[in-house]
Every structure is written in structure tokens, then in C-alpha cells.
């Protein structure tokens, strides 16, 4: 063996470790995405589909109020759920990650946040029905307490119920990364800020929040990716009144309209890509983690 081949072997040595990853990604991500993009240009007739290239499905998507409406509903619900998970998740994370001094207790509290995940996804979603329904737990309690005289009907089978359900399910994905970042903040830094004369508000906005921002971004990416691709919660809690892009895809696939489902799929993927790219611009995660 010459010196050159030895040197090359050394240099290439650990490189092959990445091979299984490349194969996996190629098989289950790049090929399927390329396939979806390709199929979105196929010609669809009522009972048949052929690989003849056409823009018909794309034109149909952007001409139809149903599809465009579903896109806007998806974006609206995503933004509301994102805001709600942040509004509920951040204070929770602040408590678990910063105010609880014992590491054991904060771990216990995080595990408690995860307990709902011990049941199946659908059970968690469906459990909201007896809670929110016209004769559900919330209405019964409010009626008993004489807060209301008639049951509130907007609680279930509306956009509100979808938002409530999604917020509950995805909140923990916001709490986790933020609590992790907050837990890493050196307590001396906060004391140093106090010693320099800063009150709690100033310390929060100038020190704690900026240092937890990477956690917020990671949490927001988790929540966004999952909410944008959602179909089950809206299917189970909206009474088919709320149609997200995910629901459109499920319906189209069910009726074998592969080209239309592919168009929706491509659009959803592009939206997610833009959202993730936008979040990653806020902080340089390479530097923070």
C-alpha cells in the first residue's frame, strides 16, 4: 500500500458512517417528495390517472375556494395554536425551568406534562368531546354554578374546539425546549443583574427571554410542523366544519384523486419549509446548542 492510499483511507475512514443516514433519507424523504411533486403534474380523470404532464390540478387548486379556503384556515389555526401554546407554555416553562430550584422536582413536573402521551393520540383528542359538548363537563359545571343559564354551544364542533384540542396536545412540545434553555441559565447571571439594579421586568426582558429564545424557536418549530400537518384533531372535534389542508389530502387520497392530493401535499411542504426557514433566521441554533 502506498502512502497516498493510506492517507486517503484515513481521511475517508469515518465518512462511511454517514452512509446509512444518506440511504435512509434518500429512500424515505427525497424519493417520496420527488414522487409527490411528479404526481402533482399527472393527468387525473374521474376513474383514472395517467403520467401525462399537465398543470390542470395546480390550476384547479388555486381556482377553488374550497382549497384556497383550506389553506387559509390551516394558516389561521396554526398561528392561533402557536400563539396559544406559547402563551400557556412559556409561563409553565418559566416555572418548571427557572423558579423550581430542585432539579428533581423540575424533572418530575416535566414528566407530569408528558403523562397525557401515555394514551393514544385519538383517545386524547376524543376525550375533549365529553368535556366540551353541549351536555359536557364544562357546561354542566357552569350551569350548576349558575354562571350561565343555557349551555354554551360554540364549545364543540367549531374552530374553537379544534384550537382547544390542538393547544392541549401540542403545548408540551413548547414547554420542553424552553424549560431546557431556562434550566441552563446560570443563576449567578440573574443575581448579577439584580445587583446592578435591574428589577424583575428588566431582568426578564433583557436577560432571561433572550437567553431562552433558542428554546422558543425549537418549540415553535415542533408545534408548527405538527399543527400544519394536522388532520385528526380537526376531523374529530370540528364535526367536519373545519377543513385543514391535511383533511383535504386525506379526503383526496380516500377518493383516489392522487394528483390533487399531491398538489396539496406539495403546497403544505412548501409552507412548512418557509415557516421553518423563517424561525431559523431568528436565532443561530448552531451557536446556541
Amino acid at each position: 500500500m502506498t502512502d497516498a492510499t493510506v492517507a486517503r483511507k484515513r481521511r475517508l475512514g469515518p465518512t462511511w458512517l454517514i452512509l446509512p443516514g444518506i440511504v435512509w433519507m434518500a429512500l424515505f424523504m427525497i424519493v417520496p417528495i420527488a414522487m409527490i411533486v411528479y404526481v402533482s403534474f399527472w393527468t387525473q380523470t374521474t376513474f383514472n390517472i395517467s403520467p401525462t404532464p399537465t398543470l390542470a390540478s395546480w390550476k384547479q387548486f388555486f381556482a377553488s375556494d374550497t382549497y384556497i379556503g383550506a389553506l387559509w384556515t390551516t394558516i389561521r389555526i396554526w398561528l392561533i395554536v402557536l400563539a396559544a401554546t406559547f402563551a400557556i407554555g412559556y409561563p409553565t416553562a418559566l416555572f418548571v425551568g427557572l423558579f423550581v430550584k430542585s432539579k428533581t422536582l423540575s424533572t418530575v413536573l416535566l414528566v407530569i406534562c408528558v403523562i397525557p402521551f401515555w394514551t393514544s393520540f385519538l383517545i386524547r383528542v376524543l376525550a375533549w368531546r365529553p368535556m366540551l359538548g353541549k351536555e359536557g363537563v364544562i357546561n354542566i359545571i357552569l350551569l350548576k354554578l349558575n354562571v350561565i343559564s343555557h349551555p354554551i354551544e360554540v364549545l364543540l364542533f367549531t374552530e374553537l374546539s379544534v384550537i382547544i384540542g390542538m393547544t392541549q396536545i401540542y403545548c408540551v412540545f413548547m414547554v420542553g425546549p424552553i424549560a431546557f434553555m431556562l434550566g441552563r441559565i446560570d443563576r449567578n447571571i440573574i443575581e448579577a443583574a439584580r445587583d446592578l439594579g435591574a428589577g424583575f421586568g428588566r431582568i426578564f426582558w433583557k436577560i432571561i427571554f433572550p437567553l431562552s429564545l433558542p428554546g422558543v424557536v425549537v418549540g415553535a418549530i415542533f408545534v408548527s410542523v405538527m399543527v400544519l400537518g394536522e388532520f385528526a384533531t380537526s376531523g374529530a372535534l370540528s364535526g367536519r366544519k373545519v377543513n385543514l389542508l391535511g383533511n383535504i389530502i386525506v379526503t383526496q387520497v380516500g377518493s383516489l384523486k392522487w394528483a390533487m392530493a399531491s398538489v396539496s401535499g406539495v403546497i403544505l411542504t412548501v409552507v412548512m419549509g418557509m415557516v421553518i426557514a423563517a424561525f431559523l433566521r431568528i436565532v443561530d441554533l448552531k451557536q446556541e446548542l
Binding site: D186, N188, I189, E191, A192, G197, A198, G199, K206, P210
Partner: protein
């Protein structure tokens, strides 16, 4: 050694020596889960004074600083600063500077923004122009010019120490608490920062209360040294006072400059492993201990005849310390005796390893502690 300290009911308080008192703590006690970290500590510091607080780890020195800064509330006692009782005042309203051992810089801010933080976010609004000017003056003074826009992760340990100092001093506090400020630096840098810390303090005219576990640091830096043990002050005085007249065996032990021998003191005579020596001037202490400084011990051949204390010991090894040589001897009962030889007094003797020698000293230079003190 030290076993008798818990019985020591010392009435020593850290009394100020110069000027008017800038702050005073009065009978402060603090316990954590039944363990007393501070036991009725009373301490005063004058205007423009450098006080070193010396104690082993766990002696309560950091707790004491945290009580003064307002990070901890004492169980009993008062903290008075500039004539005002601040015991219940939150930390951010006290105006007392605190320099942390790990510097605790804001990692997401630049050097300049770290220094400006207190002025920009404190209770008192400072005009932008003044913030700029004071920041720059302070950065120049601690020697960080040119690094203003660096992130604090991109500068060296010594530079971080300066940022921490500048960030505190720019607020113009009357009292600065330093919690082992040199502990995170390497030995070389520590020596340099020691001088600089003194120089900066003298230029600013503020009172420094410097906590340290290192006796050299305490002796070198303080105008006054306060020795803390098990949550109470056991001696306070100038470095010279403390060094040449430790008030108890515990202090002598912390100073790390004395060979200590157990024995018995009866009728003005101390009996120890070196024989019986007349000791007319004993210091009252809960146990009988004989202390002789490392550099006061003479080494003689075994055949020599001595009139005073004589201790047979085996030479083990020596350590070269630059300006002196430290020789280690072992007595028959396994106790290590250290003998320091200053090189300015001449070249060091060469001793033969595992060979016995006779150690002796002038008994007038020893410090004797005993229950029956005069």
C-alpha cells in the same frame, strides 16, 4: 487540630480601623436546614478600606457576602449600609457591587453592553451620552480598550475578570463585594490581577470586601484581615497582626505558616514532642497548642547539643519555591514538620534523605496557646 474550635466562644468582632464605617452587620445569623452558616457575626468596614475575609470552604464567607448583597435574608441581625438599615431591602435597590467567582457575565451581550447593563436597566435613569462616556472611561481604566464590541465568550479569562469588575465599578458603588474573584484564574494571571485589583480600588476610593480561601491572597491584599471559621469571626486585624499574632490555633492553622504541636501547658511550661520549654506568654485557647513559624526552625546535625527545644526528625524532601526552599521532615510519630529557608539568607543546606536531624528554634519566637493562659 481544630477539634476544639466549636467550643471557642470568641467575642472578636471585625472592627474598623480607619475613617467612618460605610457598612456594619450586627449579630447576623443564618441557618440552612438546621446547619448554622453564620453565627451572630458582627463586622464593620470603613470608607475606602480593603478588607479580606479569610476562611476555609464551608466557613460561611460566601453566605456572609450574599447576606450583605441582599441575595439572602438573615434569620436574625441587621445590615446597615451608609447609616441606613437595609436588612429588608431587595438586592437591586441596595447599590452594593458584587463580583462573582465565575464572573457571571451576560453571555449574549458584548463587553460594552455588559458594562452598560446597570446604567441602562437600573432604577436610576442615566442619559445615553453619560452612559457612553462612563462606559468608555471604565473600559479604558480596566484596560479593555479595543474589545468593546467583542462577545464575552470571545475574550480570555483575565479579560472576563476585568469586564466583571468594570460592570460593577461603573455603577459607582460605595462598597464592592468580591467572592473569590481570582479563583477562576491561573496562578500567573492571579498574581497580576492581585496588583491590579488593589490599584483599581485605590483609584476609585471604594471599600472592597474580598472573600478568599487563600491565606496568601488575604495577607497580600487586605488592609485588614477578618478570619472566619464555622460561621463566626475568630480574628480581625491588620495582616501583620494576624500573621505574627494569630489569636487561636485555628487561625494559625489557616495561615498555613506554622508547625503546630499538641502538648500540655502547665505552670508556664509547655511539654510537647520536643521536650519541655518555658512559655511565659501563652494565649488563651480551648486547647494546648504550640506554634512555630516555618521559617523560624533551624536544622542541626543529630550530634549537636541544644539548650532549647529539640525535635528529632527524618528529612524527606524539599520543594523549591523561588525565593525560598521548603524542607519537609517527619517525626517518629509521623507528623510532618516544615522548615522554610529563605534564599536571601544564603544557599540552602543539602540534607540527606531518610537521615535524622535535630530541629530547634528560639522559644521566644513560638506562639503558645493554652487553657491556663496568663
Amino acid at each position: 487540630m481544630g477539634a476544639g474550635c466549636k467550643n471557642l466562644r470568641s467575642t472578636v468582632t471585625g472592627r474598623m480601623t480607619t475613617g467612618a464605617a460605610i457598612f456594619r452587620i450586627d449579630g447576623v445569623s443564618k441557618s440552612y436546614g438546621g446547619v448554622k452558616a453564620l453565627d451572630s457575626v458582627t463586622l464593620e468596614a470603613g470608607v475606602n478600606e480593603y478588607v479580606s475575609l479569610l476562611g476555609p470552604s464551608g466557613s460561611g464567607k460566601t453566605t456572609l457576602l450574599r447576606v450583605i448583597a441582599g441575595f439572602e435574608v438573615p434569620d436574625v441581625g441587621r445590615v446597615v449600609f451608609q447609616g441606613r438599615d437595609i436588612t429588608g431591602l431587595p438586592a437591586h435597590e441596595r447599590g452594593i457591587g458584587f463580583v462573582f467567582q465565575n464572573f457571571a457575565l451576560f453571555p449574549h451581550l458584548t463587553v460594552k453592553k455588559n458594562v452598560a447593563f446597570g446604567m441602562m436597566n437600573g432604577g436610576v435613569a442615566v442619559p445615553a451620552a453619560e452612559i457612553d462616556q462612563r462606559c468608555q472611561a471604565m473600559i479604558d481604566m480596566v484596560g479593555l480598550s479595543g474589545l468593546e464590541d467583542r462577545g464575552v465568550e470571545q475574550i480570555s479569562g483575565g479579560q472576563r475578570q476585568r469586564v466583571a469588575l468594570a460592570r460593577t465599578l461603573v455603577m459607582q458603588p460605595k462598597l464592592v463585594l468580591l467572592d473569590e474573584p481570582l479563583g477562576a484564574l491561573d496562578a500567573n494571571l492571579r498574581g497580576r490581577m492581585r496588583n491590579e485589583l488593589r490599584a483599581i480600588r485605590e483609584r476609585m476610593g471604594v471599600t472592597f470586601l474580598h472573600v478568599t480561601g487563600s491565606e496568601t491572597e488575604a495577607l497580600a491584599m487586605g488592609d485588614r484581615i477578618v478570619v472566619l471559621d464555622r460561621g463566626r469571626i475568630i480574628q480581625a486585624g491588620t495582616p501583620d497582626d494576624v500573621y505574627s499574632a494569630p489569636s487561636s490555633p485555628a487561625v494559625a492553622h489557616f495561615l498555613n505558616r506554622f508547625n503546630l504541636f499538641d502538648g500540655t501547658l502547665t505552670a508556664g511550661k509547655f511539654t510537647g514532642p520536643f521536650g519541655t520549654v518555658a512559655s511565659p506568654h501563652a494565649v488563651r485557647a480551648p486547647q494546648d497548642v504550640y506554634a512555630i513559624r516555618y521559617d523560624r526552625v533551624n536544622v542541626l546535625p543529630l550530634t549537636a547539643t541544644v539548650s532549647g527545644p529539640a525535635l528529632k526528625a527524618t528529612y524527606i524532601a524539599s520543594e523549591y519555591l523561588g525565593s525560598s526552599v521548603m524542607n519537609f521532615f517527619e517525626t517518629s510519630d509521623g507528623k510532618v514538620v516544615e522548615v522554610e529557608h529563605h534564599l536571601s539568607l544564603g544557599a540552602p543546606e543539602i540534607y540527606v534523605a531518610r537521615q535524622d536531624y535535630l530541629l530547634t528554634w528560639n522559644p521566644e519566637q513560638a506562639i503558645v496557646f493554652g487553657r491556663e493562659a496568663t
